[in-house]
């Protein structure tokens, strides 16, 4: 028995509510089937349902909301084109995040040498404060958020996928194209780094 119910966006998807969660997943799949038959309304419904998460996922990866806007649109156009090939081996949300990840990495590779990221530059904290000092000025919640943001991308993405996107170990492996053991290892180091950053900011949580 699960002693503590899930929290956050998954709060209403506890084990007791499992049938409701399955129904929602089936609806996603049913919509993809409709998309495969050329139903434009169905792809718009999927867009409304998943766009914000895909957009945020890409924005977090690329550091650019402009790129996130372009890529998120491309992801749903890809859904439109590829729906007949969707075999339902993964959840629709996992499939979309996988497409988004691939497109984001491709665009980052293309832009690597010549793209000047004004948005990312603007997001860098004031140089007078190191991340640790800046963190000390905030409460723990804000400090945690800043520490999550400051994680290396390979660690932050597993944190985001687990906590925000509600993905399982296996699903994260599918999205990132890495083995499940690597997902666990990255999660371990991500949380370890978070703990160390928080400790440096004066919030010792006792681990690591």
């Amino acid at each position: 028995m699960n002693l503590f119910g899930p929290i956050g966006d998954k709060a209403d998807e506890s084990q007791a509510a499992q049938p409701a969660m399955s129904a929602a997943i089936d609806t996603d799949r049913a919509l993809v089937e409709r998309v495969a038959k050329g139903d434009r309304a169905a792809v718009r419904l999927l867009f409304m349902r998943h766009h914000a998460r895909v957009y945020r996922f890409v924005a977090r990866q690329t550091g650019s909301e402009m790129m996130a806007d372009d890529i998120a649109n491309e992801v749903f156009l890809e859904l439109w084109k590829q729906a007949p090939n969707f075999e339902g081996r993964s959840e629709v949300s996992t499939w979309l995040l996988g497409i988004a990840r691939f497109k984001a990495l491709s665009m980052l590779r293309r832009k690597k040498e010549d793209w000047i990221d004004d948005e990312a530059a603007a997001a860098v904290p004031d140089s007078a404060d190191t991340p640790e000092v800046a963190t000390m000025k905030e409460d723990k919640g804000a400090a945690l958020r800043r520490c999550v943001d400051a994680l290396p991308e390979e660690h932050r993405v597993v944190i985001d996928l687990a906590y925000y996107h509600g993905q399982s170990v296996t699903e994260i492996g599918e999205v990132l194209g890495i083995p499940v053991a690597t997902v666990k290892t990255r999660m371990f180091y991500a949380r370890k780094k978070l703990g160390e950053a928080l400790k440096a900011a004066g919030y010792d949580r006792g681990w690591p």
Binding site: M1, N2, L3, F4, P6, I7, G8, D9, K10, E13, S14, Q15, A36, G38, R40, R44, F47, M48, H51, Y55, R56, A59, R60, E65, A68, D69, A72, N73, L77, E78, W80, K81, Q82, A83, P84, N85, K140, G141, L144, R145, C147, V148, I159, D160, A162, Y163, Y164, G166, S168, V169, E171, K184, T185, M187, F188, R191, K192, R205, G206, W207
Partner: protein
């Protein structure tokens, strides 16, 4: 249990806590985390810290606001797209090639499509009958010698799915090509010049057709 083993076990449990919290943990790992939470006094504090991370990660993500007009802009882009390509009848090799085609940028994809269609022709010459399920290929020498044909160049941004569907729907066959300049020879199953011209007009009317030139016509004197 030694201190080192205990630490290792805690590390393992700490790595699983996010998945416990998001409700995706199951089986032996779920049991292990629940057993740890029940028996180790440090576990409850660890769970509280993970919950705080959960909130922090959620807040960091939700601070990003997608543009309000995203749906309307997507709808416009969607309206410009053709219907999704249906490929259930595709042979596995063609389907794999098609999947790869769809995953790459259009200019590169078109070059790949040319290579793919060339491959169709080669395969049709290797396989008796030379008939694909998505569209028919005139792969036999007799066909090539007898059938009327047209020379067709497709637009650079043409979608292979559209072309395949069109060829299949009208009984048209790829008879040869592409040349270095991207021209295909399309076999035209027409018995009269009138039918031939009608089919050429149909090809020329397609959005993916760039240039359509008359080749060999039926010998009906028309």
């Amino acid at each position: 249990m030694s201190a080192a083993e205990k630490m290792s076990r805690r590390d393992e449990m700490e790595a699983l806590l996010p998945f416990y919290l998001n409700g995706t943990l199951e089986g032996a790992e779920l049991e292990a985390v629940e057993e740890w939470l029940s028996n180790d006094p440090a576990a409850m504090a660890a769970l509280g810290e993970a919950e705080a991370e959960f909130s922090g990660a959620t807040a960091a993500n939700e601070a990003i606001r997608p543009p309000a007009d995203a749906l309307s802009r997507f709808t416009r882009a969607l309206d410009a797209e053709a219907r999704p390509a249906r490929t259930p009848a595709a042979s596995s090799w063609l389907r794999q090639a098609f999947d790869r085609f769809m995953a790459i940028p259009a200019p590169v994809a078109w070059a790949a499509a040319a290579a793919l269609l060339a491959l169709v022709i080669v395969q049709s010459q290797l396989q008796p009958g030379g008939k694909g399920k998505d569209f028919e290929v005139a792969g036999q020498e007799d066909d090539l010698a007898k059938m009327p044909f047209a020379l067709v160049k497709f637009k650079a941004d043409a979608k292979m799915a559209d072309i395949v569907a069109f060829l299949d729907g009208n009984g048209l066959k790829i008879a040869g090509g592409p040349t270095a300049s991207g021209v295909f020879r399309i076999a035209i199953p027409a018995g009269t010049t009138a039918d031939y011209k009608k089919l050429l007009g149909l090809i020329a009317a397609q959005s993916f057709a760039d240039t359509v030139l008359e080749g060999r016509k039926p010998v009906d004197g028309g």
